[in-house]
């Protein structure tokens, strides 16, 4: 049943697996689903695995179930789903067996043809048993299961009922805010950055090391010798450099601020510096870039294990990067080009990334992005990019 719906979901880019689709069939055959409302909720719980896709699901559902007449699945569609089923079967026989309600050993004995036949028979069963031929979903209350009480107990519905059809609910698009197009929030950033933590023993020795204790006790001829260790805690050092000047960064202020806030509240050993466009001989600890400069050359004295994260759009006039006196500020007399400074930083800190708030497909339009890209591994300042950046920072070189 609902094969078209399955494909409509897949076409929209929802990664609905055949296994989960079979699970939905199983739920249908158990008589758990007695109305479109039930179907809406149940299918979503089984097929859609993230609230970020709920909005997409709602759209497909609303489109699909509004005034659609039933059509029996025709041959071509069945072939398609059978192919998907077989692929899944090859990958993961146990799951398919379970979804079909078969024993794994029984399934092994089946030839692919038999499996397909079994599957088709089951589909037919359901069409007859629960859907009375011409209707999408059976409404008869013959099933022992359902709202009135799934044994043992079932969940009693204590809340209010929606009083709206599932299609209408779907059309409200309640989950729009959660969809993938939504802005990067602090929580999401936190989840990505959390992986950066590096646990190192520190603090008082108050954890019993069982293995060592046993070993030492044996060495001691059975006289108990308890060995204590230090607790693990996060000791990672991070330097965050933010491009906070110039109109080119203006559209990204919010997302950079979010990153900044999160980083400040989460990492114990975090230094934040500011620069404009690119890094010359110094960076500043204050956002106005006036009072607390720190020469770049001093960074060589810092722990090389420090993770360096630079945030900026890397877009500037090429001479700012290439010319020995490229700074756009007159009072900054420079020795060495901007790009050399960057190379110096990249060499000093083996674990470094550049986060670019611009979209990756826009990077090619700016010459200096390419230049910097060759010095620092560059990632988009999005959830995806952030995760890749974190992965890169975690790698031991």
């Amino acid at each position: 049943m609902f094969i078209e719906f399955f494909y409509a979901l897949r076409e929209r880019g929802l990664s609905v697996s055949p296994t989960s689709f079979l699970r939905l069939q199983k739920a249908l055959s158990l008589g758990m689903i007695q109305s479109v409302d039930d179907f809406y909720t149940t299918a979503r719980a089984i097929l859609v695995k993230s609230e970020r896709y709920f909005d997409m699901y709602d759209q497909v559902f609303a489109h699909f179930f509004r005034g659609v007449a039933l059509k029996a699945p025709d041959e071509i569609e069945l072939t398609e789903i059978v192919r998907a089923l077989l692929e899944e079967w090859l990958k993961n026989p146990e799951q398919i067996a379970e979804a079909l309600g078969l024993d794994a050993s029984e399934l092994k004995k089946m030839t692919p043809e038999e499996l397909i036949q079994y599957f088709l028979d089951r589909l037919k069963d359901q069409t007859e048993a629960h859907h009375g031929g011409n209707r999408w979903i059976g409404t008869g209350g013959t099933s022992p299961v359902g709202r009135s009480g799934y044994h043992p107990g079932g969940m009693r519905v204590g809340g209010q009922s929606r009083n709206k059809s599932a299609v209408k609910v779907a059309m409200e698009r309640r989950y729009k805010d959660y969809s993938q197009e939504g802005p990067l929030t602090e929580v999401q950033m936190g989840e990505a950055l959390k992986r950066l933590r590096r646990m190192i023993p520190s603090g008082p020795k108050d954890i019993v090391n069982v293995d060592k204790t046993i070993y030492e006790t044996m060495r001691n001829a059975g006289e108990i010798e308890i060995i204590f260790d230090r607790r693990l805690s996060d000791r990672l050092k991070i330097i965050l450099m933010i491009d906070n000047g110039g109109w080119s960064m203006d559209p990204y202020v919010e997302v950079v601020q979010t990153l900044f806030h999160y980083a400040r509240s989460q990492f114990k050993d975090l230094k934040i510096y500011y620069f404009h466009n690119t890094i010359y001989s110094r960076v500043w600890q204050d956002a106005e870039r006036r009072y607390k400069p720190e020469p770049i050359d001093d960074f060589i004295r810092k722990d090389p294990e420090t993770r360096l994260i630079i945030v900026g759009d890397a877009s500037m006039a090429p001479y700012e990067l290439m010319h020995t006196n490229g700074s756009i500020y007159i009072d900054e007399v420079e020795l060495g080009t901007g790009i050399e400074r960057l190379k110096f930083l990249a060499k000093t800190f083996r674990h470094s990334v550049w986060l670019n708030p611009q979209r990756e497909d826009e990077w090619h339009h700016t010459f200096t992005v390419g230049m910097i890209w060759r010095v620092f591994p560059m990632f988009e300042l999005t959830l995806d990019g952030l995760e890749k950046a974190v992965q890169h920072l975690r790698v031991r070189h």
Binding site: L30, A45, K49, S50, V145, G154, G159, I224
Partner: protein, 280 residues
């Protein structure tokens, strides 16, 4: 952290919405774990308590920690006690029988229990992804091995498994593939009215309306990092009830006292105070 398995604090005070009830029933019928996500304070953990209560099953809570290994959740081989016993020999345990030193972890307890249990795995996102995948393997097969005594523990009854996650980030695909999923949205005003109703049965209608209205207005303030959730609202109403100087009229005029109960971060509190002053 151990909780008394028989205490369902506020279990009967849980307002279950229609959608969630269906999802829970389907998950039980399909024998699949149910993964719950949602903002903090939407009652993810409470749900497991409510299920346990309404199905009259014991509840076992596994609070996941970041440093946790899967084996900790399954069983523990108490080597220290054994060492101690072998040294001093003043216990009734048989030192040569390792099985006497195996203690079941939370998943293990759920497996060996004579009754069908509700197993709540709280905040799975804290653990690393290896833990998550391995755990699902165990829950899939409903058995695990105790290496020390070379014994396989098979679940007597398949527990009802509820997994919660606070993460906005997705869990791994194989993990998701084996769970049903539901996202608990923040309750709307109607549901909130019911929730307030069960917590404060004697609260006057006017007051509860005014409080809820004010609460949602406060939640909409801009620049708030941690928005107040249901828990904060309940505490806030409790505070308002004890204050003899509180008048419903002043509340509906936008005069909201005790903002500190709703906003827990100092920056949030400052922002909220400022914005509520502007409203007046």
């Amino acid at each position: 952290m151990t909780k008394d398995n028989n205490s369902f604090r506020g279990g009967s005070k849980y307002i279950l919405d229609d959608e969630l009830a269906k999802v829970v029933n389907v998950s039980i019928a399909l024998e699949m774990p149910l993964l719950l996500k949602g903002e903090p304070g939407t009652g993810k953990t409470m749900l497991a308590h409510a299920i346990a209560e309404s199905l009259k099953m014991p509840l076992i809570v596994l609070n996941v920690k970041s440093s946790m290994k899967l084996v900790d959740a399954l069983y523990q081989y108490d080597t220290l006690t054994r060492l101690n016993d072998s040294r001093f020999g003043d216990s009734k345990r048989d030192v040569s029988n390792i099985e006497e030193y195996i203690r079941m972890g939370k998943i293990g307890q759920a497996f060996v229990s004579d009754l069908r249990t509700v197993l709540l795995i709280d905040e799975i996102d804290k653990a690393d992804s290896d833990f998550q995948d391995d755990m699902l393997d165990v829950l899939d097969q409903m058995q695990f091995d105790i290496i020390e005594v070379d014994k396989t523990i098979t679940a007597r009854n398949r527990p009802v498994i509820i997994i919660t996650s606070n993460a906005k980030k997705d869990l791994s695909d194989p993990f998701l593939g084996r769970c049903n999923f539901h996202h608990i949205a923040f309750p709307d005003t109607g549901t909130m009215r019911l929730i307030v109703g069960v917590h404060f049965p004697n609260l006057s209608r006017d007051l509860s309306e005014a409080c809820i209205e004010a609460f949602y207005r406060l939640r909409d303030f801009k620049g708030i990092e941690k928005k107040p959730a249901t828990r904060e609202l309940i505490n806030w109403i409790r505070a308002l009830k004890t204050d003899p100087d509180m008048h419903i009229k002043s509340l509906s005029r936008g005069n909201a006292p005790y903002l500190g109960i709703l906003f827990k971060k100092s920056a949030d509190l400052a922002a909220a105070t400022q914005q509520s002053a502007r409203l007046r």
